[in-house]
Amino acid sequence: MEKYVCNICGYVYDPAKGDPDNGVAPGTAFKDLPESWVCPDCGATVDEFEKAE
């Protein structure tokens, strides 16, 4: 599964790790993130993310 990077702050969402602190289990693909999910570092919404190169 592909990693996504936050355009605002550079945080990388890694599906293998998920974001357990915010209720996202490891193995969750970026497209399956809940709508309410925001970047854990800067608070940006998912539309600020791009596929990591």
Binding site: I8, C9, G10, D41, C42
Partner: protein, 402 residues
């Protein structure tokens, strides 16, 4: 009448050309009871370069200081390390006076400056990029979210200087430019306050950046922040202070933060504090109605044990407490022992909301929240004393078991 100010030389080829804001007391809600400075620097090389500017009302002061060294029109480049208006507000005035060949900033900086001031002609740079000034060069390092998306720092190799923008800075207006000329106790307090109020939420990024510094291969002899005194001696000491702030390790100190309407929560706060004191742990109480938010945050950051107490008003936690709860939540305090308490007439949402916030922040609460009705009775004040003593012991255990 033209303003009269002089520049001050900080290294063979660099001059401080900033502004001193002696009388600012409210900096976007941060109590600056010692004022502040907006530091800008002039590099005299074949390509003359201005690093950062000042808050807009101080543009004349900066231009006067520049003019004491060189005609501003001779400046070739401007570097904007941080787009926040206290460092970029004078950019339009500087551009008008200087007509620079290029303005270097990060990619996010270019976007942000464009929104603030329109397109003044920005050249985006990133980590690994550098610009040749003739005899020396300026190398750029991205420091995204420390503390804005646009933040970056610049290293000038000829004089071994790091222009660190807000990092390692403090709000302090003083006539002595160097940190080592000022009392360390003041430097330490103001750096801790600045870190607690501006950078605490990015503590992990600060540690990562400090860890990455040796790998960048920069030979840094002087650190020039954008606020307050400059660092030329014992750089290890200021770097270690930053690491300490960022680690948020438990310290043997407690703070009891409270608000009170008819004195009941205050009675509980004082009994709790006296219990903490009985175990030899340093403690202070802070009434939210007379202490500034930024000073409360400084006290919270400097404590291993925090107790927050408030009345309930209109079925909500008391407003002044809601304000500080919102503030510490955003600043992501961590690794504290916490205690929620309060007094209420009937419904009692106040202390419950504080306890819920502590849970959300994953702070350890060894004792359940405690709330009294109307006025604490003598057995209850004793329970607060005992709670203070018990949590002080827990704090000492936590520190000793580290």
């Amino acid at each position: 009448m033209k303003k009269f100010f002089k520049a001050q030389q900080v290294s063979p080829n660099v001059w401080w050309v900033g502004a001193i804001d002696w009388n600012v007391r409210n900096f976007h809600g941060y109590l600056t009871d010692r004022g502040s400075t907006y530091n800008a620097f002039l590099i005299i090389d074949e390509k003359i370069t201005l690093v950062d500017t000042v808050k807009a009302p101080f543009a004349d002061e900066m231009l006067a200081r520049i003019s004491s060294v060189i005609d501003p029109e001779k400046i070739d480049y401007i570097i904007s390390n941080h787009a926040e208006p206290d460092h970029s507000g004078a950019l339009p005035a500087a551009v008008a006076a200087i007509k620079p060949e290029k303005i270097f900033t990060s990619a996010a900086g270019a976007k942000t400056l464009n929104l603030y001031y329109g397109d003044l002609g920005y050249t985006a740079v990133k980590t690994g990029d550098s610009v040749d000034l003739g005899n020396g060069k300026c190398a750029f390092v991205d420091t995204k979210m420390l503390h804005w998306p646009d933040s970056m720092v610049t290293y000038y190799d000829r004089d071994k200087l790091l222009f660190s923008q807000d990092a390692f800075g403090m709000h302090l207006a003083c006539s002595k430019l160097w940190a080592d000329e000022n009392p360390w106790s003041v430097m330490e307090y103001e750096v801790r306050k600045y870190f607690a109020n501006i950078l605490n939420l990015y503590s992990e990024k600060v540690i990562a950046l400090l860890d990455s510094l040796p790998g960048l291969g920069l030979d840094i002899e002087v650190i020039l922040p954008d606020h307050g005194p400059l660092w030329r001696k014992d750089l290890d000491k200021i770097i270690q202070l930053y690491r300490d702030c960022a680690l948020q390790a438990p310290v043997p100190r407690a703070v009891v933060v409270y608000a009170t309407m008819w004195g009941s929560t205050k009675v509980c706060a004082e009994a709790f504090a006296d219990g903490v004191r009985s175990k030899g742990v340093e403690v202070e109480t802070a009434d939210l109605l007379v202490n500034d938010r930024s000073n409360i945050m400084t006290k919270v950051a400097g404590a291993g044990l925090i107790a927050f107490g408030a009345p309930t008003m209109n079925n909500q936690v008391y407003p002044a407490m809601a304000d500080i709860m919102n503030y510490i939540k955003g600043l992501r305090i961590k690794n504290k022992i916490a205690f929620a308490f309060g007094s209420c007439g009937w419904s009692g949402e106040g202390a419950k909301q504080i306890a819920a916030l502590f849970d959300e922040l994953k702070l350890e609460q060894p004792l359940p929240m405690k709330q009294v009705k109307y006025m604490p009775q003598s057995n209850e004040t004793e329970e607060f004393f005992n709670a203070g003593a018990e949590l002080a012991e827990k704090l000492l255990e936590k520190i000793n078991n580290k």
